[in-house]
């Protein structure tokens, strides 16, 4: 068992990072599909964006270029601004409906 652990830890390469990114992405996806609280849905979206960041930095590291890191820079800036707008929207929804359950948005009217 210890030999297997040794082999596993010596071979950490690109596929391990990609699998981790895929798992984080799918967990975020489940969060968006399953939860009712608007803010938890926004948090799951942040989780998906982080998974993509991990994948891009892993690719950038294993190919020796910096393109992935530049992309991550922009993704971080855009994710932060999207989180800010989402929170502002959540605050105004709370003021109107006294709750932030997603069932308040099921109808297009109002």
């Amino acid at each position: 068992m210890l030999a297997n652990l040794a082999i596993a830890t010596q071979n950490v390469g690109l596929p391990q990072y990609l699998t981790l990114g895929a798992i984080l992405f799918v967990v975020g996806l489940i969060g968006v599909l399953v939860r009712r609280n608007t803010l938890v849905i926004l948090m799951s979206i942040e989780l998906m964006l982080n998974a993509v960041n991990v994948i891009m930095v892993a690719f950038s590291r294993f190919s020796g270029t910096l393109d992935g890191q530049i992309n991550v820079f922009f993704v971080m800036a855009i994710a932060a601004s999207e989180a800010a707008i989402g929170l502002a929207l959540a605050v105004s929804i709370f003021r109107q409906f006294k709750g932030i359950n997603i069932r308040f948005f099921e109808n297009l009217k109002g």
Partner: protein, 176 residues
Amino acid sequence: MLIDVSGLLFYLLAGLAMASALSVVLVSNPIYSALSLALTMLSVSGLFFHLEAYFLAGVQLIVYAGAVVILFVMVLMLFDLKEEKKAFSGGLISFMFKVILAGLFLGVVSSVIGWTFKGTPTPRQALQDGTAQTKELAIRLFSEHLISFELTGVLLLVVLVGAIVLAKAKGGTHAR
């Protein structure tokens, strides 16, 4: 027959990231969700340090873990929500259906990864050290990607104004 410490570190950080990500999605109380998200951001920052992207790791700590998630936690604490009776939409069947679909998607992606990389492990290319990397990053950001950079600045300004307009109470800060 030695355990490679750096590989062990990867598995520890990855395990922490996955456990806290699951906790974000599955815990009912949204504040615990937000604090687990902070832990996820911290482990992703650790993964960036492991991938030798030092500047991005620091920026992840400053921007994500130290500002965005704090904003989430502050807004949640202001709302003071009572525990929702149903934190998950739909019943058990709909929940299982969504999880199975997402699991199928994960299965497809993982098998593609495994099929692409089977056989020889990927060699690591050489990378410059921390400060030279940041300098290189800055040069490319300001020369090749200048338009994207300036547009991101404009986007942040628009978001700043928009967030204030959306969240403002009628009558300003001292309204009743």
